[in-house]
Symmetry: C2
Subunit: 304 residues, 2 copies
């Protein structure tokens, strides 16, 4: 199976500590890197995790709070020093261009590549990026400023040919692609050979959803339904749920409720408040509702 | 003796590595913290070194290159989250306000304290800050953009009273401050008691000079003459001196020449290029000219 991994670079909340970096993740899809959020120190984490700067072409910013984007300038600058020439696309709220462009013009005037800001509408669920084998959609979230998560979805693959049946029915080469796409084979005499006789199903497509920062927000459930891996923020414990609501963050229990309602396969929780020295209390709380929960760990890589 | 220390937070050059943070130092003068430069990740280093955020009121930026100031936004934001109320003064090239203010307005709109940009003229040697016991001067340097170093100078202290002599000559209390400042004592009958009979000299004043980034620039020598501690950049080895000149950086040998010419007491070299895996080659080179050289080490504290 081609690589489709989630790398956790930073999983702290707004107040940085010596234990956590601010938010950043990198999706590795077939050795192309897609970054989600870029808190201060992200480029140092990229290096520590030996992720290749040259494989990164897209950065998605969930929202314009400092702990999710103060590493952007340094990363852009370093990519320039490393001699990058290909475009870098930053998918973010329309304000991002307006805010970062003057800094880029000042600090990175001689950048050997283009930084392109692709303005996205965080309140909409829509297709943001389509590559040959991957689609990325926005997921509208509920936070103090316009915020969206991101759904990474593999495109369906062609079905597998059953070689002996192809030979037996003498399917011509020109029909092969259509048959891989699921069409039946119509012989010259008009008889139909159903596709299932000629092919085996493709592997099912894999999906990863990133939901941070957000208050408990049920309306994301249909969008993330059945994903293989869900990252959902769990800043607080349920006993801090008043504080969670005020600051528009989620509790571990709420993250688990979303995972359960969406019937996802696995839940990773993160964006931890600095107040918890032992994260196992957050994990234990989430597991009461959704046993397939794990803690996000910086420096670790999780297959989708 | 009251505390006067230099803390090295980051001492890499433009390209961050896993070994070095970008530039930042903190002068601790009587438990007041004065930051020089603020590269990405500086706030994390402050925490690691257990330097108190609340004791920091002044940040000096040598120049507006990203590796010397991309940590500023994150630090300002964190100081706000920590509930700071006192002003923070950022002494920097006049462009700093124009560049950072729009970001501050956007990302730190609800900051509970004031950030004040004090525009300085990097091409002049002048007094930037005067506190009760400390003066900070700019040191014009030679780099690709307007750049200055900083000279931290203790103010002269009062001389020490010799108690028995004061009693013997019956010096009245009202004359005491003048005598501590070095004046002679004039008795009522007109006879003069010379100050040296009444007092012992104060401790000599201590000085620290920070010179980075800069090409080899002899005209700083009179300004930094005799300082107790000189931090001078040494990005390259002498065999890379063409590259040093092009990029307007110094070699270890050049740093040592400056230290020697200025007859400083101790030289700390830093701002190392990522190309050197063994820094001892830089140290050895500097020591050929100036034996009292040491390597800047991140996380370490050096008395001035």
């Amino acid at each position: 199976m081609e690589r489709f991994d989630l790398n956790i670079l930073g999983t702290g909340s707004a107040l940085p500590t010596t234990r956590f970096n601010p938010t950043s993740q990198v999706v590795n899809f077939r050795d192309n890197l897609f970054m989600i959020d870029c808190g201060e120190g992200t480029q140092a984490q990229l290096r520590r995790m030996q992720l290749k700067f040259s494989r990164l072409s897209h950065i998605f910013l969930s929202h314009l709070h400092g702990d999710h984007c103060f590493g952007l300038m340094g990363l852009i600058s370093t990519l320039g020093l490393l001699g990058r020439t290909g475009d870098l696309i930053v998918h973010a709220h329309p304000d991002a261009g307006r805010i970062f462009r003057p800094m880029l013009d000042y600090f990175c005037a001689e950048l050997p590549y283009q930084v392109i800001f692709n303005p996205i509408a965080p309140q909409k669920h829509e297709l943001i990026l389509e590559e040959r084998s991957l689609k990325v959609y926005s997921i509208p979230l509920k936070h103090r400023v316009p915020t969206c998560g991101f759904l990474f979805e593999e495109k369906p693959r062609p079905r597998h040919i059953i070689r002996e049946m192809i030979d037996f029915y003498q399917v011509p080469v020109r029909d092969m692609n259509r048959i891989k796409e699921g069409e039946d084979f119509v012989r010259e005499d008009g008889t139909i050979i159903p596709n299932e006789k000629l092919t085996r199903p493709a592997e099912s497509i894999r999906k990863f959803a990133y939901c941070s920062d957000t208050a408990y927000h049920k309306s994301i459930v249909p969008i993330i339904e059945g994903v293989d891996l869900l990252f959902h923020e769990a800043t607080f414990l349920e006993k801090e749920k008043v504080r969670a609501k005020q600051t528009m963050h989620s509790t571990a229990l709420q993250a688990a409720k979303i995972a359960h309602a969406a019937q996802v396969k696995k839940l990773v929780i993160g964006h931890f408040s600095a107040r918890y020295t032992d994260l196992n209390v957050l994990l234990a709380e989430a597991k009461t509702i959704f046993p397939e929960t794990i803690l996000a760990e910086e420096g670790k890589c999780y297959p989708v």
